[in-house]
């Protein structure tokens, strides 16, 4: 350092009235007791202010019960644990939503892998599936949440990138096609690999499930999903008591807690009891085909073997269990 600079730097330091001796490490330089008392008062005020600023959180903390806070990962739960937890959830739902519900957890069936196919020729874009999903899966009614979005696209080509989701005119419009998209239940799901807490995984029957009691809400899976199929509970779902679907699955349509991810689960609580998913039953056009991919006589297998089938975003190598086809 040349002298000039050093001088100027020192001058600056001296000129500054605020910079007295910051290195004074002796806390009792002027008046030890007064200083110490001031420090104590400062510390008290500091903690007071901290408490005051965090005060709004008390509502959240009050709502947390110990069982929920320390609840284990789904795969670690014993039968007895599940029984206890389901009862707790039923009680909580009744307390918070005023609806009597039954929470269950049907196991995957052996020899079953679900597949879903959608006939783009017959879909008329009526969004009955969107509505049925909302009703079946206890979605937030204010945001009109649903796991299904329907794109309206031009008939030429099957490019959803120019599609519209917000159409509200009578359908079907001539020369347009309707393209519903929901979770594709990939065999190579990017959302599962990125989850830091294993809160989402692939079940033996192909369903990509989420443990709502384990998800920490980091939303990495939402960033990873190429199908925009994952949704976050930005607030507690608002559902009128008479609209709560009482048939609830622990991994599927139970009322979700705030701050966790959710997604289409092929109506796990229905399909594992042999029933069709709600969106299929609602489809007035019969555009949806659901079944067991491992059963060679199933309808879904007939579609895969006899129709021109394609998958969405094939280049992503996600290997979806959801297929689209055009009637011939």
């Amino acid at each position: 350092m040349d002298d000039e600079t050093r001088k100027s730097l020192q001058d600056e330091a001296v000129d500054d009235p605020g910079s007295d001796n910051p290195g004074s490490d002796d806390p009792g330089s002027d008046n030890p007791t007064r200083r110490r008392m001031l420090k104590a008062a400062g510390a008290t005020a500091w903690f007071g202010a901290l408490g005051y600023s965090l005060w709004p959180m008390r509502k959240y903390i009050k709502n947390l019960d110990q069982d929920e806070l320390l609840r284990d990962h789904y795969k670690e739960l014993s039968v007895a644990d599940k029984k206890r937890i389901f009862a707790a959830i039923e009680k909580k739902t009744e307390r918070e939503y005023g609806a009597k519900v039954r929470v269950s957890d049907p196991p995957p069936m052996p020899g079953v892998k679900y597949g879903y196919a959608l006939n783009l020729t017959t879909c008329i874009g009526c969004r009955k599936c969107v509505e049925a999903c909302r009703v079946e899966n206890n979605h937030d009614r204010t945001d009109m949440q649903s796991y299904i979005r329907v794109f309206e696209i031009e008939n030429m080509g099957l490019d959803i990138s120019k599609g519209r989701l917000d159409y509200d005119h009578p359908v079907p419009v001539k020369g347009r096609r309707y393209f519903p998209v929901q979770c594709q239940h990939c065999d190579n799901p990017p959302c599962v690999s990125v989850c830091p807490t294993k809160a989402t995984w692939k079940e033996p029957d192909g369903i990509v499930a989420i443990d709502y009691s384990w998800c920490i809400g980091c939303r990495y899976c939402a960033a990873a999903c190429p199908y925009q199929a994952r949704f976050f509970n930005w607030r507690k779902p608002r559902i009128p008591a008479n609209e709560v679907n009482p048939d609830q699955g622990y991994l599927s349509n139970r009322v979700r807690p705030v701050g966790v991810m959710e997604k289409c689960h092929f109506c796990l609580h229905r399909v594992r009891r042999g029933k069709f998913p709600a969106c299929l039953e609602a489809c007035p056009a019969g555009a949806r085909v659901f079944g067991n991919l491992r059963d060679p006589k199933s309808e879904i297998r007939w579609v895969l073997e006899n129709r021109r089938v394609f998958i969405l975003k094939e280049e992503q190598a996600t290997k979806p269990s959801f297929f689209y086809f055009l009637a011939e």
Binding site: P22, K59, V194, G217, Y220, A223, Y227, G259
Partner: protein, 432 residues
Amino acid sequence: MSSDTSSSAKTSTAPGTASEAGLSHWVAYVRFLWRSVLLATDGTLLFYAWMTVLTAVAFVGANAWAQQVAEGMALTNMSNQVSWGLYIANFTFVVGVAAGGVMMVIPAYLYRDERMHAVVIFGEMLAIAAIIMAMLFVTVDLGRPDRFWHLVPGVGQFNFPWSMLTWDIIVLNIYLLLNLHIVGYLLYMRFLGRAPAPRWYVPFVVISIAWAISIHTVTAFLYAGLGGRPFWNTALLAPRFLASAFISGPAFLIIALTVVGRFTTFKIDRRPLGTLVSILKVTTLLNLFMVVSEVFTEFYSGTHHTASARYLFLGLDGHTALVPWIWIAIGLNVVAAALFLYPGTLKNRRILVSACVMTFIGCWIEKGMGLVVPGFIPSALNEIVEYQPSVIEWRVTAGIWAFGLIVYSAAIKVAIPILTGEARATDGDNGR
């Protein structure tokens, strides 16, 4: 902190003040920490005013976060389409600052530039403060902060090695420990008035250099690995992150050292500053070069995958929320790069600091709002949902920045008297 104490405890076999006085390093180190607390909470009126203002801002942030936790993330302006916003943008940027803070170490230790040693500690402390900020930014972004323990290996379910987020958690924590150890050890030794034993810090310094690169690489891989987001899915992302890390870290250090020089007796040589500016000369240009490469690839090919870049730079279908952000960032970075190239800049501290401020803000936008948000716009299904942070988000962000500055100010407040030799272990500290 355990690593500091244990490693320093092992040195107690060597002759030293503490052991001579029959005092174990365990006790001496605790005394050193207590002394540090006293140093950090004691100062001039200006220091108190500064810390009070920062604390007030931090509490405003804490309050905003408490509201957000109570009401749900609905208080933010994020959406299912833009699922990460200002928080993760800041996270990405401060990880870069943390990595860049250690850039001082490379000339100091790899090229044996003795004069850099004095300022190395400031870089390491910056890294500590920035890592703490990064962790806070992730925490406030969580929908369920009460379930944070699910991420703890062994207790929760740690999806290692599949999830890049688990890698990030590991590298950030280890980086924090490394820097805590190095800073703690060096200051402790100075405090005792002994020469630090190279074997207790040089290996860690070398590791921390590699680690600095790893934290930002892993953070880039968080994004670059997502095939569904073409804007991020580029091999250039990690190099770009490193380039901006090596801008923001040194730039912040120049600003910090200038402020320190102005308000304390601690004066820095011009030589380390010169080294930092040389780093900045290269990295600002490198960063701009890589931005240009990205822009060319995106715009010349013009495929579907370039929609995000078009949205960011030009706007898409009339949606232009991010266009002013990115052009401000590019403007700031270009001007700063030009200033760093101008030889007179080093002589004029005012110009130097303004260039640093410009490029710091420029990188903050470019690696934050300009990188995280456009990755989501248009969404994976080509919906355009725009994003501008909500008031709550701004408050929380300001609060975390204030907290980071509190940590950094306190660390500097402790370090300076120890480095200048004003604070030394007295007889009382060495055992009675």
